[in-house]
Amino acid sequence: MKNIIIIGNGIAGVTAARHIRKRSNHRITIISSETTHFFSRTALMYIYMGHMDYKNTKPYEDWFWKKNRIDLIQDFVEKVDVVEKKLYLTGKGKLSYDTLIIAAGSKSNKFGWPGQDYKGVQGLYSYPDLLEMEENTKGIERAVIVGGGLIGVEMAEMLRSRKIEVTFLIREDSFWSNVLPSQEAQMISRHIREHHVDLREGTELQDILGDNQGRVRGVVTKQGEQIECQFVGLTVGVSPNIGFLKSSGIDTQRGVLVNEYLQTNVKDVYALGDCVERTYDLPGRRNIEQVWYTGRMMGEVVAQTICGTPTPYEPGPWFNSAKFFDIEYQTYGNVWNELKSNEEEFYWEHHSGKKAIHFVWDKGSHQFLGLNVFGIRLRHELFDKWLREKRPIQFVIENLHEANFDPEFFDRHETEIITAIDLAKPELKIKSTLKS
C-alpha cells in the first residue's frame, strides 16, 4: 500500500484520487489551500450571478470523501523535498509521501501594469477571487475588463447580470481572435454588444489610475483615452501555478515538464492538469492545455499508471465548449483562427446571427479536420469517431443530422446547411437526401 499525496483538489487531482481509489487500496491524501472541498471552478460565474450557491458547485457531497477514504487537508504546500520525499506545509508542518501528484492548477496572469495592485483591480481564477470580486463590485456603476478570452467574457456576463456598465478592452481586432476564425469572432462580438457591453477592439491598457485611498478610479488606454471605472478585471490568461516548486529539483519551464506517463524528471512524482507542460508533441494539441477536460483525462490516465497499468496520456481529437452569454459553443477537431495552406473551409450562419457552423477539411484528401458550432448542439461521440476514422467532409455533411443533439422540437438546419455548402462547393459532390 502506497502513501499517495496529491497537491490540488481541482478536477485533475480529484479525478486521479477517485480513479486510484476505484483500482486500489492505496492511502490517498489531497492537500489544497483554496477550499476544503472540491468545487467546480467553471461554475464560479454562476455563484456571482445568483444561479447557484457555492454548495451547488460541489460535484460530490461532503460525505463522499470519507466514505471513499480520501483524506482532505486544507493547507498550503510551501516546499517539496524530493530527496526525503517530504512536503512542508504552512500549517501542518512536514508530511511524507511515497508517490506525489502535483495538480496545482493555474494562476491569473498579471503583466506588471502600473496600478495593478489598487483595490478593485483583480483577476478571476479562485474562489477567494470570487469573494473579492463580490466585495469589489458592491454598488459600483462601471467596470473595465482587460483581455478578450473566455474568462473575460464570463466576467462581462457576470457584471452585466448586476446591471453594471462594462467596457471590454481587447488588444486584438476581434473577440478571442487567437482561437476563433474571424467569422465567428465577429458574430460573438455582435452578441456581446447586444448585451450592452461596450466592446473596444484593438484597444490596449496603458495605465490603471487610483484615488488617494488606493482604490481604482479609472484606466487609460494606449490611445490615451481615460475611462472612469470602479473595478478593473484583468483576464489576460492564466499560467501554470508552479512557484512553490522552484528549486525543488522538479524540472519546469512554463509548466511542470512531464513525459507520456505524466511523470516528471523525478521518480514517483507526477503532474497533471493546468500546471503541466508536455515534453512530447501530440498532433493538433498545444503543450499546455488549460481546460477542464485535459485535467480530467490526465487524472484518469495517471490513476491507471500508478495502479500498475502504465498508460500513456493520449487524448483523442480535441474538443471543447463554452458559452458566450446566450450562445453555446462546441468544437470538435481543429479549427484554427487562420486557415492553414492545406485547408479548406465552409462557414454557415443562421439569419438570426445566433447560430453558426464552420467546417474545415483538407483540400487534397477532403479529410474532415474539425468544426466550430454555435447555437446548435452536436454529438461529441460521433465527431470523436468520425475524426478518428478520418472521414471525408462529404461523409460528415451527409450524416450531419445524426449528430444533432438539440432537444426535441428544436428547429433543424441540416437541409439549409447542406444546400448552402453544396452550392458553394459543388466540387464536393455531396450526396444527401436532405439537399433541397
Binding site: 444561479h51 461529441h380 443533439f405 432537444p407
Partner: protein, 515 residues
Amino acid sequence: MKVLRSIGLVLFLFSFGLFLSLFFMSEYKLTKEIFVEKIKKQHQESLEPTMQELFDKPYSTSYSFAQAVSNSISRVNEQFRNAQQWDSVIYDDYTSSLTKASTSGWVVDNTGLLFFLVFGVGLIGAMLFILPKASLETAGIKNDGIFHNVLNNRGWIGILIGTLLIGFYVLIYFYDAYIMNWIILVEPLKKWIYPQGESSQWFLYGFLYTFAVLVMGVRMILKYRHSKYQIIRTLSVMFFQLAFAFLIPEILVRLNQPYFDFKNMWPLDYDFFDAWHINMLTSAGGLGIFMFVWGITLFVVGVPVFVYFFGKRWYCSWVCGCGGLAETAGDPFRHLSDKSLKAWKIERWLVHAVLVFAVIMTGAVLYNFISGTSSIFGFDTYTYLRKPYGFMIGSIFSGVVGTGFYPLMGNRVWCRFGCPLAAYLGFVQRFKSRFRITTNGGQCISCGNCSTYCEMGIDVRWYAQRGQNIIRSSCVGCGVCSSVCPRGVLNLEVKDEKGRFGQPVLAGNNHVQQG
C-alpha cells in the same frame, strides 16, 4: 418597459390585497327565513331553540359567525348524546350553507365588480409585469439573482407566501365557511358556466388553480422562449388544466352528466373506486360507463404504453394538474428541492409506501363494494383506511404540504415524495421504457446547473460527469436540466432500449476504462 412592470406589480398587489381583504368585508346575519330554507325539516325543530339566539344578530366576521353556528349545533348534539338519543344526533354540516346564505353587504352586492377588480386587474397587472421582460432581456437562461432573492430563496417573501398557501389549503379543505367571501366572489363565473349551480370551495379552488397555471404558464413560456420543448410542454399543461380539469367537468355537470376529469386517474384519483363514485358513473348511462372504462383503461393500458414510448413525462409534465401547477406557478422554486443522497432514500421509501397504502386501501374498498360489506378482517374500511388516506394523503400531503411548501422545499414535494401514480409511472419508466436522458460525450464541466434546477432533486451532474445515461424513476422529463446546461450536455431522448443501461462513457480519452 420598467415603468410598465412597476405599474403591473402595483396593480397585481392591489388586486391581491383586495382579495385578502375581502375576508373582512361582509356582515353575517342569520334570519328565520334562511334557517327555514337551509335546515332540513327534521332538524328544524331540535335546532330552533338554540339557534334562535342567533337570529337577526349581526356578526362582523365569518369566523365568529361560523363558530356561533357550529357551537349551537354542538350544544344540541351534546344534549342528544347525554340523553343517549343517538339517532337524533345531527351530522349534517350546516355551517357553510348557513354562512353563505347569511352573508350580506358590499361583497354580495358587488360580486361582478369585485370579480373584475380582483381577477381582471390581477390578470392585467400580472401580464404587465411578465410580458415586458421579453424586451428587457434577450432569450436564454436567465436565472440571475435567484439565490440572492428573498422570494426564491426562502427569504421573507418566500416564507410569507408559503405560510399564506398553507393557510389557504387548510381553510379550503377544512374551514370553507371562513372563506365564504371568496367563494361568493367566483359565484358569477359559476353561474355563467352552469346557471343552476352554486359556487363552493372546490369551484373556487379549481378556478384559482387554473388562473395560477395560466398566468404563470405565460411567465414560463416567456422565460424559456428560446426552447420549443419548453414552450410546447407548457402550452400542453395549460391546455389540460383549463380544458380537462376545469371546463369539461363543469360543462358535463351542466349537461346532467357526472363530473369527470378525463385526464385524472387512479391511484392519484384515489376515490375512483369508492362505491359512490362507481355507482354514480355506472348509473349515468352510456357516457358514465364510458368514463368508468376510460378511467380504468388509462392506468391499465395508457400508463405502460405511453411510458414505454415517451417516458413518464407524457403524464407528469405534459398532462397532470399537480404537475401543471408545479411547472408553472412552481417554476420559481424548482432549485429548492433537496439533492442529497439522503433525500433520495427518504423519497423512495415514502413514495412507495404511499403507493402500497393506496393499493391496500383501494383493494379493501373494492372488496367491500363487490361483497356488499363495510369492513375487512374485522376492521371498518372507512374508519381505518379510506378516511385516513383521504385526510393524510389526499388533503394534507398533496395539498397543504405539496403546494404550501413550494417556497420552502421546491415545487415537486408531492410528486416526488407522495404521489402514488408517480411511483407507478416511475416503476415503468425505470424498467421498461425507451426514455432516458443521454449525456454528450465528455463535455460536462460539473458546473451543477442541471442538479440545481432539477425539481425532482435528481443529482443529474452525478451521471453527466461520468458519462452515464440518466434513468431515474422519479424523472418527470421537464427538460430543464437540458435547458440550463451551459455546455449542451443533456438531452431527453427516446430510442431503442438497447444500450439504455450501458457503461458510462466519457468520450475523448484513449486507453482509459471508465467505471
